[in-house]
């Protein structure tokens, strides 16, 4: 079974995004970038499926600038087999990403697309669901457990109020939630090996899909700042202040 894992290069999860003064966007110059944390979880799950003998090949795909190649290398060092970089210097909206991925699926014919539920830059939480719709494949989003047997994926999902288990026929799209696994750190030998793995570079135009934006970003602003309040000495003072000053108890 071939598994396709889309990954995204984003601002490092521990770095605070800063808005540009001209309100045109978020300043990413000289900011530490990394693989989106949910994509890492998806890569880990795919590699584990390969280690268990369920998956035969793990193909990594990323849409982004030339530097997204580093993100693909990271995924290859974790255990991916080969990569595809669809180079784009402008932001592609979730709809465009889903259309590009649908085109990659048509070429690669994987039986499973395993991807992060959300990227921590745009916070859309949309591409997996959209890809599933475009392919007319079933979806299992926000997965915390995935088992594959007999052409069926049994997936436990994080839902409002608890967990739900569903079965989806393969091929399917599965999106990873936080608790699916804990991604490994790539070992030095594997990082060296990953340098020799193949990455094909493509352009968005190679896939014949319309990725032009539908949304016009009018401005990007900073949210209202919350200022630090006061320190209290002890629990009694805290309760007194919450009762009289804040009026919330």
């Amino acid at each position: 079974m071939k598994v396709l894992v889309p990954v995204k290069r984003v601002i490092d999860a521990n770095v605070k995004a800063r808005v540009k003064t001209d309100q045109s966007g978020v300043d990413l110059a000289n900011v530490k970038m990394a693989m989106n944390p949910f994509c890492e979880i998806a890569v880990e799950e795919a590699v584990r499926l390969k280690e268990k003998g369920v998956a035969t090949e793990v193909v990594i795909v990323s849409i982004g600038p030339a530097q997204a190649q580093e993100t693909i290398r990271t995924a290859l060092a974790m255990g991916g087999d080969r990569g595809i970089l669809i180079q784009s210097d402008s932001d592609v909206e979730p709809l465009g990403v889903a259309k590009l991925l649908a085109a990659v699926v048509a070429e690669e014919k994987p039986e499973l697309v395993l991807m992060g539920k959300q990227a921590i830059d745009g916070d859309n939480n949309a591409v997996g669901q959209m890809l599933s719709q475009l392919l007319d494949w079933p979806q299992a989003t926000f997965a915390s457990k995935v088992e594959i047997a007999g052409g069926v994926a049994t997936v436990t999902r994080e839902v409002d109020g608890g967990m739900q288990t569903i079965e989806v026929d393969l091929p399917a799209v599965v999106t990873a939630d936080l608790r699916l696994n804990e991604p490994r750190y790539a070992s030095l030998p594997n990082i060296m090996k990953a340098k020799k793995k193949e990455i094909a570079t493509k352009a968005t135009s190679d896939y014949g899909v319309d990725v032009s934006p539908r949304l016009k970003v009018l401005k990007v602003t900073e949210p209202a700042k919350r200022s630090a309040g006061v320190k209290v000495e002890n629990a009694a003072e805290l309760v007194a202040k919450l009762k009289t000053e804040a009026g919330v108890l």
């Binding site: 999860a13 978020v26 949910f38 979730p94 709809l95 889903a98 539920k117 959300q118 921590i120 916070d123 859309n124 939480n125 949309a126 591409v127 997996g128 669901q129 959209m130 890809l131 719709q133 475009l134 079933p138 979806q139 989003t141 926000f142 915390s144 839902v159 409002d160 109020g161 608890g162 739900q164 288990t165 569903i166 079965e167 026929d169 939630d177 936080l178 608790r179 934006p213 539908r214 949304l215 016009k216 970003v217 009018l218 401005k219 990007v220 602003t221 900073e222 949210p223 919350r226 630090a228 309040g229 006061v230 320190k231 629990a235 009694a236 309760v239 919450l242 804040a246 919330v248 108890l249």
Partner: protein
Amino acid sequence: MAVLVVADNDNAHLRDTTHKTVTAALALSKDVDILVLGQGADAVAASAAKIEGVRKVILAESADVGHGVAEAISDTIVGLAGGYDAILVPATASGKNFAPRVAAKLDASPISDVIEVVSNDTFVRPIYAGNALETVQTSDATKVLTVRPTAFKAAGEGGSASVEKVAGASASKTRFKSEEMVKSDRPELTAAKIVVSGGRAMGSAEEFQRVIEPLADKLGAAVGASRAAVDAGYAPNDYQVGQTGKVVAPALYIAIGISGAIQHLAGMKDSKVIVAINKDADAPIFQVADYGLVGDYKTVVPELMTALG
């Protein structure tokens, strides 16, 4: 223009996230209909019909939509979409599960987590864990939005809309197997007036339950957790407050043993009053807290229980 609001419900109860989404919808149009998806959900439809300003309620029932199967839900919505210029869905785990599918089918670019309606085609949404707000204008014929409920006031009651029944779709390649809901008498996290959250400092699931839950019960509060605490297995994922969990905006948020990572702040910084209890005086949580108490939760929480009487 007419707007369709998809109700948030569990087949028996209508959640007030629906009322809040109706408020966002009324900012777009006077013609607002509500779609209730469920199975045996007549009571939900009756509640939805009472929301003020609603023109009509559509009740779509099938086993699959009752189980929240995304494929069945999105097919049902797409079947009704022709009569609407915008489809608004509460930005819950369930709403996020199907809204993008609806958008893909309608060839629209979905707009996630809307916190402000600027005009008919322009909306504000948070990006980068709420560290930036993006104002976007859409040119799509049918707009598909998820609406962050905490950003809108709940629409009132007093309406008497009619209820129309249609058949809900089913899914052929997805089968619901089982569900395991966290049983709790506490208020629902996103609707609670007070939230008590615990972080990684708790050190174990037992300690989390021993410290956080009694305090929450004393205050009649919901229980939340940081991603670090969920990740470490101290609390169920359903408790997670943050960028990738739930967004809450209660009157009082008490963060205990939570350092205040960017992604956690994204889920609670719109709370009215924030209290932080942490033994590290330099923890970032203190930068957003109205009241900070530097100290070990092991001594502070028992003292707090006593002070509350």
